[in-house]
Amino acid sequence: MASVRGRPGQRRRDDGRGGARAARDRAAWFLVLPALVPILVLSVGPLLYGIGLAFTDAQSGRTRSTQWIGALNFQDLVHDTLFWDSFRIGLVWAVGVTVPQFVLALGLALLLNENLRMRWLARALAIIPWAMPEVVVGIMWRLVYNPDAGILNETIHDLGLGDGRDWLTGFGTALPAVIVVGIWAGMPQSTVALLAGLQNTPHELHEAAALDGAGAWRRFRTVTWPALKPVALSITALNFIWNFNSFALVYVLTSGGPGGRTRLPMLFAYEEAFRYGQFGYAAAMGCVMVAVISVILAVFLAGRLRGGDDT
C-alpha cells in the first residue's frame, strides 16, 4: 500500500478510483480461481500429459508399467502409411468442406443483407443445422442418402438422371458425400459471421461507389471485400481447424469406411486409442495434428497481418 502513495498519478489513471492495487489484485485472483483451477487441472494439465504420453508406450490395461520410449512413436508414425492416408483424407475433407462452405456462406450472407422477402425464413432455417447435434445431422443425411428409402436417389430417378447409387458405401462417392454433409452442417455459422461483417461496413461507401457508377462486382471488390476480409480470414481459419479435427459427423455417416476412404485423422486416432488401446501411439498422432494445424494457422495469421498492412 505504501508503494501506491509513491505514484498516485499512475494509480488514478489505472482505475480512476485510487484503490489499493494489492487489494484489487487479491480480489481479481479470488474471482478468477474458480475457473482457472478447472482449466489448469482438466485442460492445460491433460494437454501436457497427453504430449508426454506421446513419448511413452502407454497402452490401455497396462498403464502402470508404461515406459519412456523417446521418439519411437513418431518414428513409427512416419512409416505408417495408413496414418498418412488418413492425414491426406483429413486435408482433402477440411479443404473440401471449408472452401465451398465459405463461398456458399458468403453468397447467402450477401443475399440476406439485401432487402428480400423470404429473408426471415432463410434466417430461421439457417438455425437448424447449427442447433442440431452432429449425431442427428449424420443420421438425417444417412436417411437422405439411403439407397432404397432415401430421397436423393428417388429425386435422381424422378429427374431421369439414372438409378442413383449407394453413396456412402461407394469407394468413389463416400468422401464427396460426407463433404456435402460437412458443408451443410457448418454453413450457418459462417453465414452469420459474414452477415455481421457486412452489416458493419458503412452503407455510405456503397452509395458513393454506386453514384460513381461502379457495378455490383466492382463495388464488392473495392468496398465490401476489404471490409469483410478480417472476418473472412478468421472464420476460414477456425473452420479449417474445426473441420480437420471433426469426428462425430463422419463417425455416424460412414465410421471411416468404405475401406478407410473417409477415415479422418480423429477417427483413426480414436480407433487406435480406444479400440486397440494404443494410448501412446494415438497421443503421438494428436501431437502431429497439433503441429500441422499450428503451422497452417501461423501461415494464415501471417497472411492476415500482411493483409492488415495494406488496408
Binding site: A35, S234, V290
Partner: protein
C-alpha cells in the same frame, strides 16, 4: 441501394435464395417425413415426401428399442449441470478479463483462442486415464467435469463481450455514490449482465446436450449413456438400421436444442460476432 437493383438482378437473387432454402431445409423435412411414416411406406420402392398414413408407431417403437427416456434424463442432467457450473465459474473470470488489463487476462484470452485448435484425442486420452484413476469412468460426474471445461472458452468469450457492454461509468457512478464494491456488482452490474449470463448458460447447455465424442469414450453402459450415444445404437453394426424409429428418435433428440437455440439465437450470434469482427 435496393432501388437501384434491377428487376433481373432481383429475380436472380430470389432464385438463389430459393436454392439456399431448398438446400437448407430438405434434409430436415426428410427426417420429419421419415419419422412419421408407417413401416409399409418406408419399405416401398418409391419413397414419397409426405406420408400417406402418418403414424406415431416409430416413436413408440423407438422408446421400446432403446432406453431413450433414461438417455434423455442423463443428457438433461449433464447439460443442465454443465450450463450452470460453467457460467457460475466463468462469469467472475470474464468480469476480471473485461475490466482489468493484466498478464492473466492476456494469458486467458490466448488460451481461449488456442483451445479451439486442440484435437480432442490429445485431451481425451489423459482425461480418460485420470478419470479412470478417480473411478469416474462411466459416471456422469466425470463427463460433467469435462463438459464444464470444454464449454469454458466460448463461455468466457461471450461473457467478456457482455461485461464490456456494461458501461464502466455506471459502476464508477455507483461507487461515487458510496456503494461498496460488492454492492455495485450485485445491484448495478449483475442485473445488466443477467440476460447475457442466461444466454451463455443456455449455449453451454446446448453444447453439452449435443456433444458426442467425450460421451462415447467416457460412458460405457447403456443406462449411463447420453442421448447422442444411444442414438448411434439404432444404427446396427453393419450400418443396417430400422429407419423409422431411428428418424423418430433423432427428431426428438433435436427438439430441445432447436427450441432453446431459436430462443437465444440473436444473443449468441451477437456474442459470436462481436468476437469475430473484433479479432
Amino acid at each position: 441501394m435496393s432501388t437501384r437493383t434491377g428487376r433481373a438482378t432481383r429475380t436472380g437473387q430470389y432464385l438463389a435464395l430459393t436454392g439456399y432454402l431448398v438446400f437448407l431445409a430438405f434434409p430436415f423435412l426428410w427426417l420429419i417425413s421419415t419419422a412419421f411414416k408407417p413401416a409399409r411406406e418406408l419399405g416401398s420402392l418409391h419413397p414419397t415426401w409426405i406420408p400417406d398414413h402418418p403414424t406415431l408407431d416409430n416413436f413408440r417403437q423407438a422408446f421400446d428399442e432403446q432406453p431413450l427416456l433414461q438417455a434423455a434424463a442423463n443428457s438433461a442432467l449433464a447439460a443442465v449441470s454443465a450450463g450452470v457450473i460453467c457460467v457460475a465459474i466463468a462469469t467472475p473470470m470474464a468480469y476480471v478479463m473485461a475490466r482489468h488489463r493484466s498478464k492473466l487476462s492476456a494469458a486467458a484470452t490466448g488460451w481461449v483462442v488456442i483451445s479451439q485448435a486442440f484435437p480432442f484425442v490429445l485431451l481425451i486420452i489423459p482425461l480418460f486415464l485420470v478419470l479412470k484413476n478417480l473411478q469416474l469412468i462411466n459416471s456422469l460426474a466425470g463427463l460433467i467435469m469435462v463438459y464444464v471445461v470444454w464449454s469454458l472458452p466460448f463461455a468466457l468469450w461471450m461473457l467478456v463481450g457482455y461485461v464490456r457492454a456494461v458501461p464502466a461509468e455506471l459502476e464508477e457512478a455507483a461507487s461515487v455514490d458510496g456503494a461498496g464494491r460488492l454492492r455495485t456488482l450485485v445491484s448495478v452490474t449483475a442485473p445488466l449482465l443477467a440476460p447475457g449470463i442466461v444466454a451463455t448458460a443456455l449455449f453451454a447447455f446446448i453444447t453439452a446436450w449435443n456433444e458426442f465424442f467425450f460421451a462415447l469414450v467416457l460412458l460405457k453402459t447403456p443406462e449411463k449413456q447420453t442421448l447422442p450415444v444411444v442414438l448411434t445404437h439404432f444404427i446396427g453394426a453393419e450400418g443396417a438400421a430400422d429407419l423409422g424409429p431411428l428418424a423418430a428418435a433423432a427428431f426428438l433428440a433435436t427438439l430441445p436444442s432447436l427450441l432453446l437455440f431459436a430462443f437465444i439465437q440473436r444473443r449468441i450470434t451477437g456474442g459470436m460476432l462481436a468476437g469475430a469482427v473484433k479479432s
